[in-house]
Structures are given as C-alpha cells and as structure tokens.
Amino acid sequence: MNTKDSKCPRDPIAAHLRDVPRSGIRDFFEIVSSVPDVISLGIGEPDFDTPWHVREASMFALEKGATKYTSNMGLPKLRKAIARYVGDTFHVSYDADREVLITVGVSEALDLAVRALVNPGDEVLYHEPSYVSYRPLIQFAHGCPVPVETRREEGFRITRDRLEERITERSRLLILNYPNNPTGAVLNREDVRIMAECAREHDLMVITDEIYAEMTYNGSHVSIASMPEMKERTIFLHGFSKSWAMTGFRIGYACAPPELTEAMMKIHQYTMLCAPILSQEAAMEALNEPDNDIREMRDEYVRHRNYIYHAFRDMGLPCVEPGGAFYAFPYIGDTGISSKDFALRLLEEEKVAVVPGSAFGACGEGYVRCSYATSLEELKEAMTRMAGFVRRITSC
C-alpha cells in the first residue's frame, strides 16, 4: 500500500479553534478603517483621556524605577486598595491577600475564570446579545456555550424562564454582564436576587463581569456577589478600563474565594506572570480619589445617553432606554435590511460607523450598537446623518 498517496495534509490548526469565527467587530473594523473621515459610534472605550493625576503618577513611577516584575497576584498595596474599593462600592468583602488577583485587563481575568471552572463538555450559560469574548473563551476551554436569549420587550434583562429553559444536568456555569455591552441594559435588585436564587437552586457557578458598574444611570448597581450565599460560588470581575478611561493600560482584577483565586492564579502565574507594574501603579493612583474622576464622566455620559435616546425616538427607531454602560442598541429591523447591510450602507452613504448587532450573537440581528462615548459635536452630526439615512431607506 502506498501510504504516501493516501495521506491528506494535516490541518495544523487545533480542531476546537477551527470552529471559532473571527470577531465580527474585527471584520467590521477593517472595513471602517478603509473609509476616511468617518464619525465612529463603534468604539467600545471612553472618549475621555485617562485622568491626568493617573498619567502623572505613572510617569513618576517610571522615574522611580518601577520596571520590574511584581508578585504574581499583583502589588500588595493595590490588592488592599481594590479590596477596600470593592467592599465600599459593591458591598462584598474580599481578603486582599488571598481573594484578589490583578490581571491584564478584565479580558485576562475572564479567560482565567472560565478556564479555572470549566471541564470539557460542561455547559456554560451566558446571555445574548453579549460581549464578543464569552462564546470563544468557553470554546477555548472546551466547554459548550449555551446562549440565553434576552429581548427588547424585557429590556434585555435575563429572566428566570429563559434561563431555566436552557439549564440541563451538564450546566455548570453562568456568565453575567450587567450593565451590558452591547445593549446598555442593567439589572435591578430583584433581577439580581432571582439570578442568585437560580444559581443556588441549580448549583451553578457564576462569573459576573461588572466592568461597567460605575456607569449605572438609573438606580444603583447591585452585584450578584453581594447576595446571600453567593460569594462562595461567584468570581467577580472588574477593572479600570471603562470607569477611569484606562483601556490601554490593560489592568483589571478578579475577586473570588481563596480556592477559586488560587486556581486562576495557577494559570496566571504560568502564562502572564504578572500584570505590568506601571499599569498597577497607575491603578493604585486611580483608586486614590475614585469619586471625583468618575462623577464628571458619568454626568456627561448621562447627557449623551439622553440625547441619543431622544434622537432614535425622533427617527422612529425603537430603543430601550440604556440604564448603563455607554451603548444604545436601537432596533433597525423595520427598515427591512439586515443589521450588517444597515451598518455597511450607513458607512458608505453617510460615513457613520455603528456595529451590526449580529456581531453580538444571533439574537442581536435587527439591531445596531451605537456607542455614545464620543464628543457631543460628533454625536449630533452622526444622529443628523443617521436620521437622513433612515428616512431615505424607509421611504423607498
């Protein structure tokens, strides 16, 4: 037998990776980058600069010679400050020495948390439309992603019924992200209490990504980790990117009971070693006067939120009033074109970039994500152009 001829060339890429598509946002980014002078509402980061005192403190740290590794868990003084901040803000108490792990952005923390909890074949529940990383990270950990649909009529809040429909005996973990990217939805205390009850009843672990917590505009943010008997089954994720406009610093953290933190730490110490020391020093400074930094940005986001919400209403696009984060998620399905075509044509014809809802999961189809973390001038111009576009495509 001639083995040479019967051999197919081996696919060099790992099988579980082949099925993971590239991020729809990345595809769209490449298209947008090729068009000059675009007003972009497609940006998932604050338009504020990092507060000057934070930048100044990083320069000072560099001058002092903060250029070395830190302990795997992160600088002890920063872990202390984080434990204090989380205690004051989210009403959950974590031990700075054993329950706080500093990571390279919440993105790393999320990856660690999923890998620490998921066995091959475990089902992981997460709500859709959702941030683009959840599904791939579950797949990278050889878990089975199980999206739970959230709907506009329900304010894009996850409900007990829709969650329980998807629970099986293989369900292991629930990922929550409120305030939500891309919908701007928030959960109220009762919603959070119900989710906690479900998690306990069905013995689910919970990863809660609360990166937008400070950007909550109606009522106050409630963390599921603060619910009775929830701390022990929850990994709480937070960071500095959004509330302090520090996306490029790549600095976040995970808080969890000691055995969970230790498990995440195992992966972190072999893969990342530690978060960059300069970013840790900057984060330390950010926690010195959190309220001042955040208040001004939050006030401006509220004004922009109100503006964009009214603008969509005037255009006749149904939209849930965003309760948090800095995204609005208007329904464009009545225009008769797909969210991808809507975004492409809006880009070509009006030079305004929004992200097609389908990038955030199948049930995001019919929507577009518009970030209002941009200057009011740009927001006004974008809304004027978008209104003209919507008028044009709905009249023909």
Binding site: F29, V32, S40, I43, R303, H310, L376
Partner: protein, 159 residues
C-alpha cells in the same frame, strides 16, 4: 451646579433643542430657565474663548498685584469697585496672601499699561503699592488649552 449651567459653561452656543434632549425636558422649559438665569444675573454674558496669540494684533496683558489699606467701613470694596470701573481692567479679585487685589489688565502696548499703573492705579487713595507682571504667552485660558497637542487616535471600532 445645575446641569443646564454646566452645559452652557462648556458651550454657550448649545441650542435649546439639544439641551432639551440631553436633560429630558421640553425646549420651552430650557428657554424659560435660561431667561430666568439671565434675569437673575446668574448668567451675565456669553463670550468666545479666543486664542489671541494667534492674532496679529499688538496688545499687552499684565497681571498686577496691589496692596491696599482697608477702610473702616466697606473694607476693600470702595477701592475695588473704583478700580474695576476702568475698562483696561479685565478681571479683578480680592485674594489672600502677600497682597490684596489681583488685576488682569489689558493695554495697547507696554507704555499704555505702564501709564495706567503709574497714573491711574497707583494714585488712587488707599492703594499702597503695585507689582506689575507682563504676560508672555497664554497656555490655558478659562479651562481651555490654547495649544492643540498631538493626540493619539482611538481605534475606529473596538469591542
């Protein structure tokens, strides 16, 4: 501070329609409240922030520290009001520290500012001494930076 005032302080040209959208109120209500602020003298005017260094005009600005003998009745008020009437005086503050009044004065040239100080200001009864600093360059004015610095561009689309 009222949200409406914050918006106007940032951009006095913001239209009542846009302000109404941002503050969840009607356009009429916005107009009414602006009128009230104007009537009460809380809003005292609307000005453009101009970078005069970019204009080809000869003009001199000076910061002047003034020490004053306070009066038994009225303290610094009589002298201050008198000084603030001069059109050359752009701003006038009573301050704590080594001197009492801080003036921002504008003039055509060095000579005109000098003569304002020596002939008008220093001769006012109660003014004990003056120290004049001529301004060389404006970096920031009314919270606005006068030189645009190169900025990092954000990615056009990000998750």
């Amino acid at each position: 501070m009222d949200e409406l005032l914050k918006i106007l302080k940032n951009n006095a040209l913001e239209s009542p329609g846009n302000i109404a959208k941002m503050l969840n109120m009607s356009e009429d209500e916005v107009r009414k409240r602006i009128k009230e602020y104007e009537k009460k003298g809380i809003i005292r005017g609307y000005q453009a922030v101009v970078n005069e260094d970019q204009l080809d005009i000869n003009r001199v600005m000076a910061v002047i520290e003034v020490t004053v003998t306070p009066e038994r009745e009225g303290g610094f008020d009589r002298v201050s009001n008198r000084i603030s009437r001069f059109p050359e005086v752009e701003s006038l503050y009573l301050v704590s520290g080594d001197y009492d009044l801080l003036l921002f004065v504008e003039g055509r040239d060095l000579k005109s500012v000098s003569s304002f100080v020596s002939e008008r200001l220093a001769t006012i009864e109660g003014v004990k001494s003056t120290v004049t600093h001529f301004m060389l360059k404006t970096y920031k004015h009314h919270g606005v930076e006068m030189e645009s610095q190169d900025e990092y561009e954000r990615l056009k689309v990000s998750p």
